[in-house]
Symmetry: C2
Subunit: 444 residues, 2 copies
């Protein structure tokens, strides 16, 4: 039997507890698969006294988690503290600089500092692994980095936030409104007390930025992800979408844009967006319900690949963390030079963010308008003047608010800039009771 | 730049051509991701003169493909010849024994000789990789072997044959009968001139046996896969299933059975079956259409993982072959000792095949009977006598055959042995125009 892989674990919240339970429950199996045991040596968290339902007495306790990085009896550090900066980042840097491999579930840290950490690991010849940072237990980082490695990825998109997907699919099943379902999700522990990180799309944007870097070989550019959350979606939108043959899902989408405004072969630019989309019933993502995540990658040889499973929770996240540890125990560090993002940081492209105005697509636009003559004429005139062609339009009285009416339309395919222009023409119109809501239709 | 990974390619059919095209088209990308180029050194096939639409002049030609295994200028051999034995197996053995890593898409060879080859690679410290052998371009071998490695897999099932899935989903969409759609599939090149290997379930059984070994750590046992094809499925079965809320899919399913006939903790036995199943509309596999493959693995921590994509074709298969080569170029051989099936062959369990009689499930049973009084009474009496409880029953005249009537029923949950017993009681009955068709309902 080879020597065990000795690990230190920082952060003993839900996921940390899950990792300990997994390593204990599946110990024999892990040893057979990894070729050697994975042994927890030291643990650390903010509050030593807290009851976590797991027996920590067998592990050394470190009050200062950063000290774990320097322990001679540790081969790999597992960071489950969270937060883009602060103690998590300090620990990560220290661990790598002390020659330890680092495994983390921390999407914010990777989205903001992943390239810096990758460069450190490339120098230190250790592994940096973060399968748990995207899509919980679904091995989509591995799927892209290794499984689809032979492909030029044309497009990447998916459902990257389980909380939003739970809320949207529950709204769909029950006809209830956003705020109502959000409260239930909070009561059940599916949503945080402050849900904005999830429902405003930030969490999904972190994950998308990480996947983009791996799929397209570009430097992570979280700041350029166009992000719009799900808070303005109403039960009426979901009903309208259903009548048209669609469900609504929060979709993160990324692709390389080779468009040039001058008609010449343009510079490669990166388009990244997290927005609610209308997804046609016959698309695999339309059947992804509850707190599930799913990622689609379209390769130039593989065609469309789909990875799907539980996007969060202690079990699935622990599954991904320990899979990374098994890779390290097996000696699969992703090549001598590491390259956590598939290619080395020095080889990554810097792509400017792609503008969205010239993108061709179909859009769903919902107006809430005063119920009086001439409003429809005003809206349709603005569409005509901006060159937006309307495919279908439904006007419907809203019982919950006196006097206001819902007008929902789907456009024919056209440049997104035209829709923006139409809305600009309508800006400040007294006919509009609130800002219109625009959602793209997910194309084939 | 590190030295290239030099490969020899045996077999220049559709997939071989695809591998050459992929390596040429995506060469720059592969080099960045693998950290070094992948270079084709030598090729071999039966007929040198054949036009394959790719330029072979840059590669050395070997008339005797086995000679490629001995070339000093080759690091890895790609076997795309096909056939469980014969030249493919000879080449594979020779390559490994000469210290070359082996990449193959040959499911029949792996299902029959995978363990022998794995033992050879474990000794030779080279890699044996066969991602392309299961589910085409979908990285499901990697997903199970590495992505889900931390989990005890409870159950594994999926759609493993694209030809069958194309036929079934086309029957579903068009209402046409099996033989009619099969002819179309043959004309389009989706099905072989002799389709029995696909439509009788043998191909899916090969793949299932390979996945079982990885998921459960058992020695490959292809011979014990209970196999039933799709040739007896009629348009009327698909219509009945639809009316009940199901689609019909050829499903390969495997799980470890700890049942003991004496009520004590039993010996672990392996249950493996490839049969057409009724899949409920709300199951992800119900939306897998066309020549797509999809595999579900249920882990004790990950929960349900789904991998889906194109199951065949030159592009997807080449994508998987080259992904294996990139792993090898990166130095990720799956650990020092190789272990192509996740654990070393010497550590694998030998499990006896599990009997199916005690399995609890719901079944669809279709009878074709003479249209005369008393037939329904005879059938339902047999069900009663065998202890089968009927949940729903439909009797329907068949226009295409005079005098015969279709009786389709779905049972309540019960042991499979009772259904077999009921059919035994009806055996030889003059009321039955043909042998009844039984399909299990895919459970949650």
């Amino acid at each position: 039997m080879a020597a065990p892989l000795r690990i230190a674990l920082a952060g003993l919240g839900t996921v940390g507890g899950g990792v300990i339970r997994l390593i204990e429950t599946n110990a024999a199996l892990i040893t057979r698969r990894a070729g050697r045991p994975i042994e927890i040596v030291a643990v650390s968290a903010r509050d030593r006294g807290k009851d976590r339902g797991v027996d920590l007495s067998r592990y050394a306790w470190e009050d200062d988690m950063t000290a774990m990085a320097a322990r001679d009896d540790v081969d790999a550090v597992v960071e489950l503290v969270g937060g883009a900066d602060g103690p998590a980042l300090t620990l990560a840097r220290n661990a790598i600089q002390h020659g330890k491999s680092l495994v983390t579930a921390n999407k914010a840290m990777i989205a903001h500092h992943g390239l810096e950490l990758a460069e450190l690991t490339e120098k230190a010849k250790v592994a940096l692994k973060f399968e748990a940072a995207v899509a919980g237990g679904v091995p989509v980082i591995k799927g892209l980095r290794e499984g689809a490695a032979a492909n030029n990825i044309d497009r990447l998109y998916g459902i990257l936030n389980g909380t939003c997907n739970f809320i949207l699919s529950t709204m769909e099943d029950t006809g209830r409104d956003f705020s109502d379902v959000l409260s239930e999700a909070q009561a059940k522990g599916y949503a945080e007390a402050d849900p904005s990180f999830d429902v405003e799309g930030t969490d999904a944007a972190h994950k998308l930025a990480i996947l983009s870097a791996i799929a397209f070989g570009t430097r992570i550019d979280f700041a350029s992800v166009e992000t719009q959350g799900i808070t303005r979606i109403q039960a009426a939108d979901i009903a309208q979408a259903d009548a048209l043959g669609y469900v609504i899902r929060l979709i993160g989408i990324a692709e390389v844009d080779e468009h040039s405004e001058n008609g010449e072969g343009g510079q490669r630019r990166l388009f990244q967006r997290v927005h609610p989309h209308l997804v046609p019933f016959d698309h695999p993502l339309a059947h992804v319900d509850g707190a599930t995540n799913a990622v689609v990658a379209e390769g130039n040889f593989s065609g469309r690949l789909l990875f799907q499973g539980a996007g969060a929770g202690d079990g699935p996240t622990a599954s991904a963390v320990v899979a990374d540890l098994i890779d390290i125990a097996r000696g699969d560090l992703g090549g001598e030079a590491g390259a956590p993002f598939s290619i080395q940081v020095s080889e990554m492209e810097t792509m400017a963010p792609a503008p969205s105005g010239h993108r061709l697509g179909r859009a769903y636009i919902r107006f809430t308008v005063a119920d009086r003559p001439g409003v429809l004429a005003e809206i349709t005139a603005a569409m005509r003047d901006a060159g937006v062609s309307i495919e279908s339009l439904i006007q419907k009285g809203r019982h919950e608010e006196g006097g206001n009416v819902l007008v929902a339309m789907v456009t024919h395919e056209g440049p997104e800039a035209r829709v923006s222009e139409a809305l600009r023409l309508l800006e400040g119109s007294p006919a509009l009771a609130e800002r219109p809501l625009v959602m793209q239709l997910l194309g084939e």
